[in-house]
């Protein structure tokens, strides 16, 4: 049986949930996401409480440019779709295509991360808006930075899965891992939807 798990090809419809280990991972990870919801809620709450505490530093209206944020949003949303494609091919048992779409996801994720870093650098250099400038700046960088760190971790995770399994192919042992990683990636997107709405759009409007 153990060998079965490492055999690639010929997988059932939901390979991620075909084994007990897979089902455990699947559930455990969803629950983890439930906890992450509260984690981000705490950060959002903190941010909302401090969003006007700019002291002498720049305010959200002075800082945020929506063009860049729009671009970042579209990139991240698209990467969510591409990772759906990857899972689609996983379920169809097409390892190569899955890797391909994961690759595209990674590239998009990297682009997002790059833009975010550019954005931060821009704020620091052109607006003197550093981490310690005001309570608002601290809350902003912490919330958005936490999301960024999640993106970075997600990228590292997906890349290491791709590399690790490049030769092994898809099997019952690693299918849940791919699946769970893609859930993580979607969750990052969920958080970003609220970030662009609550931080950027509301930051410009209110």
């Amino acid at each position: 049986m153990a060998d079965d798990m490492l055999k690639s090809g010929n997988l059932p419809e939901n390979p991620e949930r075909a084994t007990l280990e897979g089902r455990n991972k699947f559930l455990g990870f969803w629950f983890f996401l439930g906890g992450e919801t509260v984690l981000f809620a705490s950060l959002f709450g903190t941010y909302l409480a401090l969003r006007n505490s700019t002291v002498d530093g720049p305010s959200s209206q002075e800082l945020f440019g929506l063009g860049l944020v729009f671009l970042m949003t579209v990139i991240l949303l698209t990467s969510s779709l591409t990772s759906v494609y990857a899972m689609y091919h996983m379920k169809n048992n097409d390892f190569k295509k899955m890797q391909l779409w994961l690759g595209i996801t990674v590239v998009l994720g990297l682009a997002f991360l790059g833009l975010e870093i550019y954005e931060f650098v821009h704020y620091v250099h052109d607006y003197e808006f550093g981490y310690t400038t005001s309570a608002f700046s601290t809350a902003f960088y912490t919330l958005v930075g936490f999301h960024g760190a999640h993106v970075a971790f997600g990228l590292a995770w997906i890349i290491s899965l791709m590399v690790r399994n490049a030769k092994r192919g898809l099997n019952l042992y690693n299918a849940p891992k791919f699946y769970v990683a893609s859930l993580y990636w979607h969750f990052i997107d969920v958080v970003w939807v609220f970030i662009f709405t609550v931080v950027y759009l509301m930051g410009v409007v209110l």
Binding site: M1, D4, M5, K7, N10, L11, P12, E13, N14, R17, A18, T19, L20, L27, W30, F31, L33, G34, G35, E36, T37, V38, A41, S42, F44, G45, T46, L48, A49, L66, V69, F70, T73, V74, L77, T78, S80, L81, V84, Y85, Y88, K91, N92, L172, L183, H186, F187, D189, V190, V193, F194, F196, T197, V198, Y200, L201, M202, V204, V205, L206
Partner: protein, 106 residues
């Protein structure tokens, strides 16, 4: 324990089912992009925040539901427990945000 020898027919059926699902998902994606554009548009347009803010929050909520139900497959069977936990999380999250936006003063 694992049924690995599914027949080709069955496989064909899966593939078709998956393709159908995929269509939904592309549609979902299109909607999400549309919502995003509306939200950004509203924010950039000169509309009263009293109007804009609730709308963009609702758009965000709907987008998130799309993500959860279509991209993360919460609409499929076997997701009762994930739903329970996510909604419990949302409940706790809601309370947290409510408190931090209302009873911390100034």
């Amino acid at each position: 324990m694992v049924n690995t020898n599914s027949s080709n027919q069955k496989k064909h059926f899966y593939k078709k089912k998956h393709r159908d699902q995929m269509k939904h998902q592309v549609l979902t994606f299109a909607m999400m992009i549309a919502f995003t554009i509306i939200a950004f548009g509203l924010a950039m347009a000169d509309v009263s925040p009293m109007f804009t803010v609730p709308i963009i929050l609702i758009l965000a909520a709907v987008q998130v539901l799309f993500q959860l139900y279509y991209f993360m497959h919460m609409n499929e069977e076997g997701h009762q427990w994930p739903s329970v936990m996510i909604y419990s999380g949302i409940f706790a999250a809601f309370l947290t945000i409510l408190a931090l936006t209302t009873i911390v003063w100034w």
